[in-house]
Amino acid sequence: MKNNLLFDFIVDKRAKTVTVNREFAAELPLVWDAYTKQELLDQWWAPKPWESRTKFMDFRVGGRRFYAMVSPEGDERWLIQKYTSITPKTNFKLFNAFADKDENPELPGSVLDLNFSEQDGTTKVNISIYNESLERLEKMIETGFTEGTKLQLDNLEALLARLSKS
């Protein structure tokens, strides 16, 4: 079931834009809540074993979300987001930047444009991420999110274990 859901990741280096398309097996209002409500967002935003901890989130135009990505060792990397446009259950745009612990953004940042649509109980989310600088995109990876690689290794380990049994 999960495998049938669309996942596109398109990089346009020249336009400094990454486009992500993903489908979810849930109705739109629920998916919208998962993206826009602090208590839900914190449950999935950080790739495990990192944790997302939101200090405050004010989801309205001009409002901000101040949150930390917390490493398994407890190191905090603060980020700040500012909502620049909201069309309920359809679209929202935000500016995203790393920040110090006193909410001062470290520029440049990135601009996220998120679109939501539903068809037959499946919700499609289209995200376009514009980065002012490639260096910043690079920093996002360096800031500890090497977990993707670790996950891959874990999966490989599990696969090897399975293969050795059969």
Binding site: F9, K13, F24, A26, W44, K48, T146, E147, G148
Partner: protein
């Protein structure tokens, strides 16, 4: 001054990206490269120097001419790094899948 010299600095400039595209097809001399651009030879030389310092291109001497050619492995670094970025989103979304299905189950039980 701390000057940044890596693949990302190399591709940050439009002229350098054009040079990369050009020499991806075949090794070329600085003069042959410069002919493709409206800018001065000095400007092209400067870009070639940066590309060399970023280790994205390498020089090879054939007879009396110096040829510039692309370091394919370095270009792969960019793709590997973008692959990590893709992985973050993939992981995130899988976690969201789990959360959504948990919430749906809870709703059905009520």
């Amino acid at each position: 001054m701390d000057i940044r010299r890596d693949v990302f600095q190399a591709i940050a400039d439009p002229t350098r990206r054009a040079i990369i595209t050009l020499i991806a097809l075949q090794a070329m001399t600085p003069n042959a490269i410069a002919e493709h651009f409206d800018t001065t030879r000095q400007a092209v030389s400067k870009h070639l120097r940066i590309l060399t310092e970023c280790e994205l291109v390498k020089q090879e001497t054939k007879g009396r001419e110096i040829y510039y050619q692309l370091e394919i492995d370095k270009m792969k670094e960019i793709d590997q790094w973008l692959e990590q970025f893709r992985k973050i989103w993939e992981t995130r979304f899988n976690q969201l899948d789990d959360l959504l299905s948990t919430i749906k189950k809870q709703k059905n039980e009520k």
